[in-house]
């Protein structure tokens, strides 16, 4: 077991790779009462084209399978995993993102039993056709809930219009039509392909002894048999540089307009560190442009163009990236034009070193505070882990960002690759 102490945040991280390939990271927090475990597979909603394990042909599966499987993983051969956690006084949950599926528990007692249960229920798939049928109504209602949510629609509508082919264009849960095609054999096929320990990572933080916990995990894994797994072959997506739909207006039963302007970023760096540098440069630049301390934000607020709902930021995942800016506005036409104009002018943006130092300080402070929350650390660690980055080093990485790193991303603000999406009230 490897042990690393991080001086900046005064935290210790323990790491070990199990014989079956499972990566395990532990962050003991002896003065906390709580323990949080997060078990993540490198498999999300965009993984729809791949070669299944023990097969040779590439297949394409219906949108929403990763999320559907996540719902059904809680079926155990003798009950339900969340019920088992509840018996231990622990709460459990799961979520699916575009690139990951994660299972979690949170407890204040029986820490080892909870970790064993987390490993055991995720490392066995008990889904039957009957239970798949039953879940369809629940997931259908989940999709329906998002259909009526204007923020969600604005976000996913905007992302959808950027891409011609990339599966990120489809909502994580899929559609009522796509989930109709999902059955138990398919869920087993994707389970066997993507839930192999070598494609997964366990992170546990909280009230426990690292040596004892690692021993427990080692023993748990030694009891199970997994056949060796060749690297997963994922389909490559042929995605044109241009956006799919340049501009769209959608009507909903709402009272206020919502504007989203997104920029498709076509060349995502392969090297994890270069990719991280780009992401952090975007984070700092976004704060320089739009945080509450910025003059532009103040000007637009004073003009009534934007309000507190304004948000901007880069989304960069395995093989795609886009930059999004969105806000509710009473002047949606004017705001949309302003945002496009801003994109066109970014090539001439002058970096103020003083402002850069300030937003660096701010981001460092926020990262230090993130370590107050086990959930935040675990989720952050897991997100960066599959990007090839150790999140415990992020503070140093932010410190190292220079004005030239930020200059390097300015050309990515290219209005040729932007698209806007506006939601307006029906009765207009």
């Amino acid at each position: 077991m490897e042990k690393i102490y991080y001086q900046t945040i005064k935290e210790t991280l323990y790491h070990e790779v199990m014989a079956n390939g499972l990566q395990v990271y532990l962050m003991p927090k002896p003065d906390f009462t709580k323990t949080y475990g997060l078990f993540t597979t490198n498999f999300g909603s965009i993984d729809t084209t791949f070669v299944p394990i023990n097969e040779t042909e590439m297949i394409t599966v219906p949108d929403g399978v990763a999320h559907y499987l996540e719902h059904k993983m809680f079926d155990m051969d003798d009950g339900d995993a969340s019920n088992e956690f509840a018996k231990l006084g622990a709460s459990s949950n799961a979520f699916t993102s575009n690139t990951r599926t994660a299972y979690l528990f949170s407890t204040t007692s029986h820490e080892k039993a909870c970790v064993n249960l987390l490993l055991d229920f995720v490392q066995e798939c008990n889904v039957t056709q009957e239970s798949v049928e039953k879940e369809r109504g629940i997931i259908g209602q989940e999709i329906g809930m998002y259909d009526d949510n204007p923020d969600w629609q604005s976000y996913f509508g905007g992302v959808h219009n950027l891409y011609h082919n990339h599966p990120v264009r489809i909502d994580i849960a899929g559609t009522v039509e796509s989930i109709a095609k999902i059955d138990a054999p398919l869920l087993h096929r994707i389970y066997n392909t993507f839930y192999h320990p070598s494609n997964m990572m366990l992170f546990v933080a909280g009230h426990f002894d690292a040596d004892e916990m690692m021993e427990e995990i080692r023993n748990n894994q030694a009891r199970k048999h997994f056949s060796p797994m060749p690297p997963i072959i994922r389909g490559t997506i042929n995605e044109p540089a241009q956006v799919d739909v340049k501009s769209e207006v959608k009507m909903m039963d709402v009272t206020v307009d919502k504007v989203a302007v997104n920029i498709k970023i076509n060349d995502t760096p392969k090297d994890p560190h270069a990719k991280l540098k780009r992401e952090l440069a975007f984070t700092l630049l976004t704060d320089m442009l739009f945080s509450k301390s910025s003059s532009l934000r103040e000007e637009w607020s004073n003009q009534g163009l934007i309000n507190d709902s304004f948000s901007a930021g880069l989304t960069q995942e395995r093989d795609y990236a886009f930059y999004s800016m969105s806000c509710d506005s009473d002047h949606s036409d004017m705001l949309r034009n302003k945002l496009h104009e801003l994109i066109r002018n970014m090539k001439d943006y002058q970096i103020d070193e003083e402002v850069l130092e300030r937003v660096k300080k701010k981001n460092i402070g926020i990262l230090i505070q993130a370590f107050n929350s086990l959930e935040t650390v675990a989720n952050m660690f897991s997100r960066y882990y599959f990007e090839g980055i150790n999140a415990f080093t992020l503070i140093d990485e932010i410190n190292a960002i220079t004005a030239s790193d930020i200059e390097a991303i300015l050309p990515l603000f290219n209005d040729e690759y932007s698209a806007d999406y506006t939601i307006v009230p029906i009765k207009k």
């Binding site: 945040i9 006084g89 629940i138 209602q141 009526d148 230090i368």
Partner: protein, 429 residues
């Protein structure tokens, strides 16, 4: 160490803990709740935390905070029973973690002094431009609340259930009241807050008694002591259940039910009531979740929650319109099961464990620690987290049955799409 200090016009609560990497301070102001004052106090709270005399624009104040390693300053407004609460909040990194030697805590407390005593005021009025910006932002929030159908449907339930009572008042007020507000009104509300509000200050982090001196230097108010009741025991004047059906262009129907009950935060049964409500619909092993969602696949979400400051219970769910009657029947059936004692001891034990576990987790969260303490300080209820846990553990089957018998359906609110199946929803199934 003593941790409650009687100060000039407020009570200071010190919660020392070495586990947090930051220091959190909340200053809570409590006043009687009215529709007009909620709007006014929301504007006041957001104006005060946006600029001061020294930092006269939001950009300048925010730059200052960024320079303090992302220190935060903000306001939260809420209602509790018949009270309106303004909470001014700041957090800053514990200087121990900073690369430079800087007394952030002192700066944090000084900043609160500036926010409270040198606000952006001229000639008995808050800065009119700033007030206008904040009004717009609050109106935008109100509109977002209308556009979020889950939120809107709950507000509508409260409205029909308790028109013109505290449960029908939003903490940020109504659009028409916000629009009328002027800088002078905000200044009057400010004076009233300083003079009349009941005030509690909480600080959590790696601190010791020295911090009391710092508060002595920076924070004092003229004596207030305007006591008014916090808890509102909602009582209905309806003879029969009120059923409201509203239609909008939406996909998923929202079914919300409001119940009256006789147990408030100061009653002996309040812990039992919260356990009963959890067993009914408080978490993933609750009866409603297991039967309405898992067994019958009628919904994605269904929850029951108990508001001990208003003595009501609310069930909220998202369903297909055609399942309206079925969902109602299942909900009634589950409540009836509890009334007849048709639940297992394991279910009771499990619900108690979940609540105890969630309370224990409070020790790991500054804001959770503060909110647990404040709820009790508001009504002078002496109860430590451990006392609370002991009461939870003592809840018996009989207590649950008694609580289940106490609740009475008052109002049903359904927000539905425009009759997507072309038939009368009330006669389906």
């Amino acid at each position: 160490m003593q941790n409650v200090f009687k100060m000039d016009g407020y009570t200071l609560h010190i919660i020392p803990s070495k586990k947090f990497k930051d220091i959190t301070i909340h200053i809570n102001f409590k006043a009687p709740l009215t529709k007009e004052s909620a709007a006014l106090r929301a504007v006041l709270a957001f104006v005060m935390t946006s600029a001061t005399k020294k930092y006269p624009t939001n950009a300048l104040l925010s730059s200052y905070l960024d320079d303090l390693y992302g220190a935060s300053l903000g306001a939260n407004v809420s209602t509790k029973g018949q009270s309106h609460i303004i909470s001014l909040r700041t957090t800053a990194v514990n200087q121990e973690f900073l690369p430079v030697n800087d007394d952030l805590l002192e700066k944090q407390i000084n900043l609160l002094n500036e926010v409270l005593f040198t606000p952006l005021v001229n000639h008995q009025s808050f800065d009119q431009d700033l007030v206008e910006i904040k009004k717009k932002e609050i109106i935008a929030r109100i509109q977002q609340g209308l556009d979020d159908k889950m939120n809107y449907s709950i507000d509508q339930l409260y409205h029909y259930m308790g028109m013109n009572t505290p449960i029908d008042i939003s903490a940020i007020g109504e659009k028409e009241d916000v629009e009328k507000i002027k800088g002078e009104d905000v200044f009057q509300a400010y004076l009233s807050m300083l003079q009349n509000d009941d005030k509690h200050v909480y600080i959590v982090g790696d601190i010791d008694e020295h911090v009391v001196e710092s508060f002595k230097d920076n924070l004092h108010f003229e004596a207030h002591n305007q006591e008014h009741p916090v808890i509102y025991d909602f009582t209905s004047d309806k003879d029969e259940v009120l059923e409201i059906i509203e239609k909008q262009e939406i996909t998923q129907a929202k079914l919300n039910l409001g119940y009256t009950l006789k147990t408030d935060f100061k009653d002996d049964d309040t812990e039992a009531m919260s356990i009963f409500v959890d067993m009914l619909g408080g978490y993933s092993q609750s009866r409603l979740f297991l039967n309405v969602r898992e067994k019958n696949s009628l919904c994605y979400y269904i929850t029951a929650s108990y508001d001990p400051f208003n003595s009501i219970m609310v069930i909220a769910s998202g369903i297909e319109t055609k399942h309206y009657q079925k969902a109602r029947e299942l909900i009634d059936e589950e409540i009836e099961n509890f009334r007849n004692g048709h639940f297992s001891d394991d279910e009771l034990v499990m619900a108690k464990q979940m609540v105890v576990s969630s309370l224990t987790k409070a020790y790991d969260s500054s804001s959770y620690l503060i909110s647990l303490a404040y709820n009790r300080d508001l009504v002078h209820k002496k109860q430590s987290i451990q006392d609370y846990i002991n009461k939870i553990n003592a809840v018996s089957r009989e207590d649950i049955i008694r609580c289940a018998k106490q609740i009475k359906l008052d109002t049903v609110y359904l927000l539905t799409g425009k009759d997507p199946y072309g038939k009368d929803i009330l006669s389906d199934n």
